[in-house]
Amino acid sequence: MITQEEIRKIAKLAKLYVSEEEIGSLTEDMARIIAFADTINAAADTQEPFDSIQSLQNALREDVVRPSYPQEEILRNVNGGEDGYFRTKQSREG
């Protein structure tokens, strides 16, 4: 049975906050979902590996230089950015 501590650890890996109010019900939900995932254990192990759907081949091509999207268009979704860059928070304090 998954514990609240494990849920907190997984949430941290997934970069999600879980509040104290949510942790109880989320752990219950996840326990039910993981129990559902556990039903694959009823199936016999097959040794044959599976590596592609419809035998797809890797799509390889020559590395040709092509024009990229203009910087100003890419920055349009952050109100134009700042001096041609995305603006972010500091990654460390101080």
Partner: protein, 486 residues
């Protein structure tokens, strides 16, 4: 009765100049104005773009130029298909305000032939759901009964087409998200083979399952759209180069001697009305000369957990890109970069998306990877092989699309696992990357539509579309969305 497609009917009226493209477009925009309040199918409408395109089509008709097959036909796109300069949100708070800088390849192709885009339609957030209710805009309603869901995740497309607010639409199908809403709303939904339709510009949920497909009124409509969107695209590395055989001209195939497989596992735990309708459909195919082959697909029992493990693992990776830095929602918070990203994701993603990211992260994490992800991946191979064995005995498979008809609102939130289980008939197809189609085959005692699913060999959409068309003809279009077809 010869059942004509909605698209062919509109095209014929335009070419005979009985009505202009602008008049048709205005009629659809009026229908949206009148009905969308009740159906909540559209999350964004694009009347200016639609009318601009319609006038261009009218000018071409006036000049006597020929029209491409879908030219001037008013349609809609699910809100996870990128449209340049038109907000594309996946019905998630985290993408509110996001305006793509490029078109999805399917939309680029359709826009190039003057398809009239009426707007973007509602969906479960990031396509994660079977009811459309996880949308940040609230769910879409069923045109047959407003107290019921339109299905999901492409519920908005189905609600729009079934509600007479678009002639057709494109959705996406990761575990049944085109077929199930089509089934719930009495429409035809086609999930093409993995690799048949470019996903460039389709916002990813689970990349080894996702496929774009049409929701239409009849099989002939689905064939017309399928022919337009199946093309090789080097921008999608899973797009398969091949010689494409058009489906639209090949619908009148003789079914005598065709072998249709019926797997008993698909018929279990199905509502009595659904079972009855599917059995009646089998009788129709028998009367058309098809041979029914009973067979077994023993791996179906593991398909659902295999799907949820793999799809969630892929989702946890695909949705890692949403950090609030380059587009979409950003939490207004103090603190450092990591705190900002965590807050943005926690406030931006809804509960179902967070649950699936957590499950995906769990099955990929150290100590659990072998027991879940790796085992599920091996079992995926077993599912694929069991379909291969089935197709050695038949030309296509027949099954219900869903074990139930449209749910009443609010059921999914009450029991997520039970809702996952309603995907049992559609999910195996995505696991194997096969093409499948849902078509209306009956009504339950409440008058809600029932869907029949046809599952084909890889890249054999043509056979499924022809078989669906023959069923419509043989049943005089009795189960089609007649109000919309008229």
């Amino acid at each position: 009765m010869a059942v004509q497609g909605k698209i062919a009917a509109l095209r014929g009226r335009m070419l005979r100049r009985e009505v202009s493209c602008e008049e048709i477009t205005r009629a659809y925009l009026d229908a949206i104005e009148k009905k969308n309040g009740a159906l909540n199918a559209y999350v964004l409408t694009t009347p200016d773009t639609a009318l601009h395109t319609a006038r261009a089509v009218d000018a071409k008709i006036a000049r006597g130029e020929t029209l491409a097959p879908l030219e001037g036909i008013p349609m809609t796109l699910k809100d996870n298909i990128s449209t340049k300069g038109i907000e594309t949100t996946c019905c998630s708070r985290i993408l509110k305000g996001y305006s793509p800088i490029y078109n999805a390849s399917v939309w680029e192709k359709l826009a190039g032939q003057n398809a009239v885009l009426l707007g973007k339609t509602n969906m479960d957030e990031f396509a994660m759901g079977s009811t459309c209710e996880t949308s940040c805009f609230g769910g879409a309603n069923n045109p047959y009964d407003l107290d019921r869901v339109a299905g999901g995740s492409s519920g908005g497309v189905a609600s729009a087409v079934g509600g007479g607010m678009a002639a057709y639409g494109l959705g996406s199908d990761t575990g049944g998200s085109v077929r199930q809403p089509a089934s719930f709303c009495g429409l035809v939904g086609l999930k093409p083979t993995y690799g048949a339709v470019s996903r460039y510009g389709l916002i990813a949920y689970a990349s080894s399952f996702d496929q774009i497909g049409p929701i239409t009124v009849t099989a002939a409509d689905a064939a017309a759209v399928c022919d337009a969107i199946c093309f090789y695209d080097e921008q999608d590395s899973t797009s398969v180069p091949r010689r494409y055989e058009p489906a639209a001209g090949a619908l009148e195939q003789d079914l005598r001697g065709v072998r249709i497989g019926v797997a008993k596992e698909f018929m279990q735990a199905v509502q009595p009305a659904v079972l009855k309708a599917v059995e009646e459909a089998i009788a129709v195919y028998r009367s058309l000369g098809a041979e029914i082959v009973e067979l077994s697909l023993s791996t179906l029992s593991i398909a659902l957990p295999v799907y949820y493990i793999l799809a969630c693992a892929e989702a946890s990776s695909n949705l890692g890109r949403y950090d609030g830095i380059r587009y979409g929602y950003q939490a207004g918070t103090a603190g450092n970069l990591n705190e900002c990203i965590c807050r943005t994701r926690s406030e931006g993603f809804g509960p179902e998306v967070q649950r699936r990211i957590l499950l995906g992260t769990y099955v990929l994490s150290a100590g659990y990877f072998d027991a879940y992800y790796k085992k599920a991946q091996t079992l995926r191979g077993a599912v694929v092989r069991s379909f291969d064995e089935a197709f050695a005995k038949c030309d296509f498979l027949l099954a219900p699309t869903a074990p139930v008809t449209a749910f009443r609102h609010g059921r999914a939130a009450a029991n997520p696992i039970e809702t996952y289980q309603s995907d049992i008939c559609t999910v195996p197809v995505n696991i194997a990357g096969l093409p499948a189609l849902s078509l209306p085959c009956g009504f339950d005692p409440d008058g809600m539509p029932i869907g029949l699913q046809l599952i084909g060999r890889a890249f054999d959409e043509k056979t499924l579309l022809a078989a669906a068309h023959r069923f419509e003809q043989a049943t005089d279009g009795a189960y089609l969305c007649r109000e919309v077809l008229a």
